[in-house]
């Protein structure tokens, strides 16, 4: 990896150098998942609690957490599988009681096909979990008003989707995400739909604070190599954003103007 030149990202009480977050589902093996997470350089990985063993006993058949080094990453438990606020709250509490970080990626999708988040239940759960001291990172549709409402109740980030989970369709909600970024008082993490490194770079160039990628890495022929590609693109996109991209124009503009002497 090239040396980090961009500003660090702060979420809650943690600072992150890498702005690429990765998911742990859909991999061909836990070993492939671990190698990709390592190669991504990410400092935050999210794990579906439904796949983990939340009791104190170790379970070799539900041991996804054993493959993640908690000294290297923040493990962000997610509530995937929850269909309403009550279920999400219950599983988040259980994870915290099991000793996982008191952070939660709040995912409530009652529709198992497109896995689109339920805004009403998400807001209700966020309110409760923030009050209980969780650092709450809600997965939402790219709805600017919902993003503001979630910030009002104390969420640490908002995580609008670029396109449905696993769709690899890129930032289809661009116009809405631009509004969310413009209005945000907390970091904006673009989650879901990012299917190519160029999509990650585009999100970062727009001013997103981070991206979360899972499917595109997990089902790649070489997940670790693809994770590295996403890391580079995320870094490049962020760097370009911090430097400041030039304005777009429909007309050609000479890169070396010839009339500057007139202003001398």
């Amino acid at each position: 990896m090239t040396q980090q030149t961009t500003q660090p990202l702060k979420i809650g009480d943690r600072e992150f150098t890498s702005r690429l977050f990765v998911g742990t589902g859909k991999f061909s093996s836990n070993e492939a998942m671990r190698d990709a997470a390592d190669a991504s350089g990410s400092e935050l990985v999210t794990v579906a609690l439904k796949r983990a063993n939340l009791t104190c006993d170790s379970d070799p058949f539900a041991n996804i957490l054993d493959f993640l080094k908690s000294d290297r990453y923040l493990i962000l438990p997610n509530t995937s599988g929850a269909m309403n606020a009550e279920e999400a709250i219950r599983i988040a509490r259980l994870a915290a009681a099991a000793g996982l970080p008191k952070w939660v990626k709040l995912e409530i999708h009652p529709d198992p096909n497109y896995l689109l988040p339920d805004p009403i239940e998400t807001l209700a759960a966020a309110e409760v979990l923030v009050k209980e001291g969780f650092t709450v990172m809600p997965y939402i549709n790219a709805d600017p008003v919902l993003a503001l409402r979630l910030q009002d109740v104390g969420c640490a980030t908002v995580m609008p989707l670029g396109a449905p989970i696993g769709s690899n369709r890129g930032i289809e909600t661009r116009a809405q995400i631009e509004i969310i970024i413009e209005q945000a008082r907390v970091p904006v993490v673009v989650d879901a739909g990012i299917g190519a490194p160029s999509h990650a770079a585009a999100a970062m160039e727009m001013g997103a604070d981070a991206v979360l990628v899972n499917t595109a890495i997990a089902i790649a022929p070489d997940p670790a190599a693809m994770a590295r590609a996403f890391a580079k693109a995320t870094e490049a996109g962020r760097e370009a954003y911090e430097i400041g991209l030039g304005a777009t124009s429909t007309k050609a503009e000479a890169s070396s103007p010839l009339t500057t002497f007139l202003n001398a």
Partner: protein, 382 residues
């Protein structure tokens, strides 16, 4: 809102059946280039003789769509047969009332003993199966089984005789996540000829079971047709229509579809038409390309070589090391995984006799993770 059985009475499959017989190569190529079958007619085209020549690209498309939604993972489950007592007369089924087999309903201790064997093998998702008998549900037997097993099985599914919604509710409250009910055949005439006595005679009542289960709170539903009872094109079309209806009307439920093919079983039935392997592949890929988000289950009815070939092209859920006899798991030798006695009370004889660990190892070699746990009781139980 009309139920599927009401809708089914109005469905006319003449046009899709015609397409399934006569679709051109150009139509199949168009669907492949679009990456999706967007209508039932397109689904039908993928069942056609013309599509047989495109099996390879269809398998690739099916694999791509499956991996996008489900990843490189296969969810593992095991059936646990609670009872082979059954009041139905079904000509093709080993449990049919008049078949001379040893009948048993396991006591709770034996159920737990069987379940612990499966738990030790790695299973965290279990399917409780029983013949159809009013006593199981009325005396709270199944509910008690669920309560005992939910302590160590995060996911419990049921495959029982159809019930009213109100009678499903206590089972959901006890910790059940899923309900499976296969229509067996969607051809009403064939259905009547095969199911000659018992409550299973009621074709439409059975057909609406998934919707009653959804109303009771089940969050995963399984439907299926038993291929080999009637024309497979018609079965596939009706099954796809049923799946489409459930996706629309039971939108919160994860839907799994199963396409078991007839296996040898005790009884008087000789199957009319065997669904050949390449046509079986056609049905699986067609279903995936029509309904990319639907889970597809493959059981141990199929032989190992075929299961290994099918796993990477659209399957999302698999059983392994199954016994279809109540109490059958206790008869496996723990080390060799060989059965130590004849399973006389089995529903049908399985074809893939490998142990769950062997199946998982093969999946791993194929580039797939065998996922044992993908649900947590805490999602549904306080």
């Amino acid at each position: 809102m009309s139920t599927f059985s009401e809708k089914f009475k109005t469905l006319n499959f003449d046009r899709p059946l015609d397409i399934a017989a006569t679709a051109s190569s150009a139509t199949v190529e168009r669907i492949i280039s679009q990456g999706r079958a967007r209508t039932l007619n397109d689904f039908a085209a993928l069942l056609s003789p013309a599509a047989e020549a495109y099996l390879e690209p269809l398998c690739h498309l099916s694999q791509k769509l499956t991996q996008k939604h489900f990843g490189k993972t296969i969810r593992m489950f095991a059936p646990l047969y609670l009872s082979n007592e059954c009041v139905n007369v079904c000509k093709y089924c080993g449990f049919s009332r008049h078949n001379d087999i040893p009948r048993i309903t396991l006591d709770l201790e034996t159920v737990e003993k069987e379940a612990r064997i499966l738990h030790n093998q790695g299973f965290r998702s279990i399917l409780l199966v029983a013949g159809e008998h009013p006593k199981y549900v009325s005396n709270g037997y199944v509910e008690e089984c669920v309560k005992r097993l939910s302590k160590f099985f995060p996911s419990i599914a049921l495959e029982l005789g159809p019930l009213e919604s109100e009678r499903y509710e206590p089972l959901v409250n006890a910790g059940c996540e899923a309900l499976l009910v296969y229509q067996e055949t969607y051809d009403e005439e064939t259905y009547r000829a095969l199911h000659t006595a018992g409550p299973k005679k009621h074709f439409h009542w059975r057909m609406d079971t998934p919707e009653r289960a959804y109303a009771a709170g089940f969050r995963r539903l399984g439907i299926g047709a038993l291929f080999g009872l009637h024309d497979w094109h018609k079965e596939a079309l009706a099954l796809a229509s049923h799946a489409e209806h459930i996706l629309q009307h039971c939108w919160k439920a994860q839907l799994n579809v199963s396409m078991p093919r007839m296996r040898p079983a005790k009884g008087e039935w000789e199957q009319v038409e065997f669904l050949k392997d390449h046509n079986f592949v056609q049905v699986i890929t067609a279903l995936r390309i029509f309904l990319p988000h639907v889970g597809i289950t493959l059981s141990t009815r199929e032989p190992a070589s075929l299961r290994d070939g099918l796993a990477p092209i659209g399957i999302t859920t698999m059983s392994a090391g199954s016994s279809t006899e109540p109490g059958g798991y206790s008869s496996f030798d723990e080390t060799t995984f060989q059965q130590t006695r004849e399973q006389e009370g089995e529903q049908f004889h399985i074809a893939d006799e490998r142990s769950p660990a062997e199946v998982a190892a093969v999946l791993n070699k194929l580039g797939y993770e065998a996922v044992w746990k993908d649900f947590d009781q805490s999602l549904i139980q306080a």
